[in-house]
């Protein structure tokens, strides 16, 4: 079962702290390799909290861990902290402003229990080499 939600990205304090502590460390993946979903959307998805999911947009696809919204409720809106995971799927079009459209990308979320969430360096390296599924 897949659900469609509107994706926004941005800073969280955990993202900021783990970024300064080193983006190569597991804490950065814990802070940013996630998608925050509203309880109502979890119900529609039919998944437990902390399940790995595949998030797909017209621009790409990424595996992240689905967690319950920390700053909700926001049904229909999903949140991935800014970072390489979010940037795999955001709308890169700038519409002649120079600014990619980091907020407001329609995405599809589906359960992908057995697929791992990659670390930031590995994700970007594999993506650049075309080694991502």
């Amino acid at each position: 079962m897949a659900i469609r939600v509107n994706l926004i990205t941005g800073r969280t304090i955990q993202q900021g702290v783990s970024m300064e502590a080193g983006k190569e460390k597991p804490a950065y993946t814990t802070a940013c390799g996630i998608i925050e979903l509203d309880p109502a959307d979890f119900k529609k998805l039919g998944a437990f909290r902390n399940t790995n999911v595949r998030v797909t947009s017209n621009y790409g696809s990424v595996i992240v861990k689905a967690v319950e919204a920390t700053q909700g409720p926001h049904p229909g809106v999903a949140y991935i902290p800014m970072g390489p995971w979010a940037n795999m799927i955001v709308n890169p079009n700038t519409y002649s402003t120079g600014m990619p459209t980091f907020k407001g990308t329609p995405v599809e979320v589906e359960v992908a229990k057995s697929e791992p969430v990659l670390g930031s360096l590995e994700l970007v390296r594999k993506g650049c080499r075309g080694e991502l599924a």
Binding site: G10, I13, V17, A21, K23, H74, P92, T97, M99, V124
Partner: protein, 437 residues
Amino acid sequence: MTKTITDVVCPFCGTLCDDLEVVVSDDGKKLLEVYNACAIGAEKFLHSQAKDRITRPRMRQEDGSWKEISYDEAADYTARMLADAKKPLMYGWSSTNCEAQSVGSEIGEAVGAVMDNTATVCHGTSLIAVQDIGIPSCTLGEVKNRADRILFWGCNPAHAHPRHMSRYSIFPRGFFTGKGHTGRKVIVVDPRVTDTARVADVHLQIEQGHDYELLDALRVAFKGEQLPDVVAGIPKAKIYEVAETLKSGRFAIIFFGMGVTQSIGKNHNIDAAIAVTRDLNEYTKAAIMPMRGHYNVTGSGQVWGWQFGFPFAVDLSRGFARYNPGETTSNDLLRRDEVDAVFVLGSDPGAHFPFSSVRKIYDLPSVAVEPHETPTTEICKVHVPVAFVGVEVGGCAYRMDNVPIETRKVVDAPEGMMTDEEFLKSVLMRVREIKGV
């Protein structure tokens, strides 16, 4: 014995807190404790002490491994790469001091580069809006001492500028704001119930991407004209109430962030927000300020402003400064294959650019000047680690309200490490030798 250094400036966000206390060892080589900083700022200071820190430049080998090289070799590679390129992109410039930015501009002029800073994915659209219709702004000191109506639009300082609320906007007791937060009305506009929204008096949970409509609705409400029943998911009664709250204040300040600059509408959202501020000045005093992210992204705009006349996306490839967002901005250039080398300093596009742009950097000759190990250093051909500005070297930085503040050095960098400015100067010298100028 340890030493405590007071009045240290925090080099993380645009709030540039200047009241930190840092405890260092007697010989000034080790940083032991950080007081008064937020969680992110403290981590930034402490991470400079990491045991696994990379302290020498390194070059990527054919087999994918790294080989250590000297700073001279790194400067030579960088200078050759920039001099050989027809149109190199020199991106970043926000996590460094104005002195280094200025040397970077000289290199950019010498090699005909496109200079762009992190505003391009942050407040670039705000800068476009300011050029459209101007900006009635103020300093954070005025906010602290005068503002009694605080509006946060599409920003979440509880997470992104953690001490902003306690130092300037919500809680401090200022000259005319002696009652602190009890004398202020706080309004938050955000599609999520953010931690900032939780401390606000009013939260408008706007439908994501409908900021322009709600801003325009506020302008209508100021004039007492008719509104539709619901605008951007907000009932009209609530909009009239917020308009009245803003008008009844003695000094209103609007802070805005990525929620408006990165959502669809982009610079037009900011146009509308500035127009709201202008309209509000018919009834009371009002000002508006972007919540700048990097501690010295404002300084980068200032330096290029006085050197080239433009705050970001400056194309020097024709021998004079051109500026055309959408054409001379990093993501557009990368995605259209219009640059042939990438130099990154004080930023991490590998983590913070959409992946379609990141992939292009991977395919190009590239150098990253960066104290940390990041997704950018992972995909660049040469990584040059440098001293942390604001921790291991001082220099000028501009706060989000365009106030310059001199950052302080608190500890020595690991032995033999260069600063941004020193490395850039050696690159500039090599570029001049190669170009014969």
